[in-house]
């Protein structure tokens, strides 16, 4: 098990956002976390990557409880997080954004190799490498956010709503990229409101409802589950 979440309880002030959330991600998997707006999906990712501290519970990553480790140190343990809304550094160029993603790495040669690999995967970013990130389209910013996360050479990548606000063409492109990132050996924990898309590329999935996990299983089973189809697939 690469990542195991045990009985996670997270509060915003007095409001409980996550209630006893437990799930796990095995190495090499794509795990989807689906659920409605406000169910606690983003909170879950923020807690895993150390931006939020839980009130109780454990986050075991590579056999180590990382709950007390600060967010910036978790990155160098091989965990990258593509945040909701992209959060690219708007005033910095595409290339500078990518270099920022490699902040935890010191070897210049390796960084350049990874950068070449990222440009390979996202030719559009290469074309725009001197352009300021703020001037990119939403889809391009999403690519940049993903490329930036890949720059840290992660073992697991947490993706928060990568398809949000994108045109259908870009949505397909982004999901193709997630598939290929996974194929190259990176484990993916995917949070999505677009449940259908998420379930088609995931191995397993969990459903989060108002802060609790209410269902789990194989993604293919979930796609055929009646209640899921009604609640999340709009059928």
């Amino acid at each position: 098990m690469l990542l195991e979440i045990k009985n996670l309880n997270v509060y915003y002030g007095v409001i409980q956002a996550l209630k006893d959330v437990s799930f796990h991600v095995d190495e090499g998997e794509v795990v989807a976390l689906i659920g409605a707006n406000g169910a606690g999906k983003t909170t879950t990712l923020h807690t895993i990557s150390g931006l939020l501290k839980p009130k109780s519970g454990e986050i075991i990553y590579k056999g180590k409880n990382i709950v007390t480790i600060s967010g910036n140190k978790i990155v160098s343990m091989g965990m990258a997080h593509v945040p909701e809304g992209r959060r690219v550094f708007a005033d910095l160029s595409v290339a500078q954004n990518l270099k920022m993603g490699a902040y935890t790495r010191r070897n210049k040669k390796e960084i350049e190799d990874t950068m070449a690999m990222v440009y390979d995967r996202f030719p559009r970013l290469k074309e725009r490498q001197t352009q300021k990130a703020g001037t990119l389209s939403g889809g391009e910013q999403q690519m940049l956010a993903m490329g930036r996360a890949l720059m840290s050479h992660p073992d697991i990548i947490l993706m928060d709503e990568p398809s949000m606000g994108l045109s259908p063409i870009f949505v397909n492109e982004i999901f193709d990229i997630i598939k290929s990132v996974h194929k190259d050996g990176t484990t993916v924990l995917l949070v999505e409101q677009n449940a259908k898309k998420a379930l088609t590329i995931a191995d397993r999935a969990y459903v989060l409802e108002t802060g609790s996990i209410t269902m789990e299983g194989k993604a293919t089973d979930m796609l055929n589950n009646d209640s899921i189809r009604k609640a999340y697939l709009g059928e």
Binding site: G50, G71, V75, D91
Partner: protein, 295 residues
């Protein structure tokens, strides 16, 4: 004409001092997103340290200035750690602003307690008397020349640091988005501490030049230049490093020219009048960027 040139050079010198202070102000604002109103008082602390070492202990400024720089640096980092950091995520951004004003009064009153209210006569740290031009018609003091050169060197060093080093890049990232910076592996707390360290060290250097050019030292010495440097930072575009430099120089020149040609008493009113006009006409300052509130 000659007197105009003399005024211009003096203005650039005073402006360079404002610029050095404004650089600290603007970096702290840009990266920590707070106005450190105690920044001006760091200047006063640095100046007293130099005063003790040079005038009381008879040591060379070559020793006194680095000591003042280090002590101000420690003071700045400690102030941030003890007084500002706990309020960083406070519900109202006013909390930290008011605390900064409190720190300012605290420093002034501690200085009053230790050194008394009487004016100390500061010995210039620049022993060089300067140069004369145009057959003795124009005399430029050594401290004037050194101040201007130093401020340019500091500007270039900061630009290099911010754009070419790892720590500088971390500052740019933290300035734009703290959470995203954390997700890059950047230690936000450490980056903000470093910013305070640089800003406070610059305040000590500014103190050395300020008190060499205007050699009367009191516990309130830093207050007025601190506020004027704030005006300079706003004028140039708060958060912008070249903006702080430009704003400082423009403000210094305007202040000296106003003092020479309009009225000594009115010069401060003119300086603050500029703040009002800038805020009305171009709130982002000369080199400032429009801050977009993202929804």
């Amino acid at each position: 004409m000659l007197s105009f040139l003399t005024s211009l050079v003096n203005g650039l010198s005073l402006g360079s001092i404002y610029a050095i202070i404004a650089l600290g102000y603007t970096m702290v604002y840009g990266i920590a997103k707070m106005l450190n109103f105690a920044h001006g008082d760091f200047i006063m602390v640095g100046s007293y340290v130099i005063f003790i070492f040079v005038s009381n202990l008879g040591l060379s400024p070559v020793i006194a200035i680095p000591v003042a720089v280090v002590l101000c640096l420690i003071l700045g980092v400690t102030t941030e750690r003890v007084a500002y950091r706990p309020l960083r995520n406070a519900a109202s951004p006013l909390a930290v602003l008011i605390t900064a004003i409190g720190v300012s009064y605290l420093l002034e009153n501690v200085a009053l307690l230790i050194f008394g209210a009487d004016t100390k006569s500061f010995t210039s740290v620049i022993p060089w008397s300067g140069i004369t031009l145009a057959g003795g018609e124009i005399r430029i003091q050594g401290v004037t020349i050194i101040t201007i050169i130093t401020s340019v060197v500091i500007l270039l060093a900061l630009q290099f640091f911010v754009h070419k080093t790892r720590e500088g890049q971390a500052m740019l990232a933290v300035a734009q988005d703290r959470s995203a910076a954390t997700l890059m592996g950047i230690d936000v707390n450490k980056t903000i501490s470093l910013t305070f360290a640089i800003g406070s060290a610059l305040a000590a250097i500014a103190g050395a030049f300020l008190c060499s050019a205007y050699p009367s030292l009191t516990p309130y010495t830093g207050a007025m230049p601190g506020i004027k440097a704030f005006v300079a930072a706003v004028l140039g575009g708060i958060g912008s490093i070249p903006g702080a430099m430009l704003g400082g120089l423009v403000l210094g020149v305007i202040e000296i020219l106003a003092r020479t040609y309009i009225s000594t008493q009115l010069s401060d009113a003119i300086v603050f009048g500029i703040l009002v006009v800038v805020l009305l006409v171009k709130p982002t300052g000369i080199l400032g960027k429009i801050i977009q509130e993202k929804v």
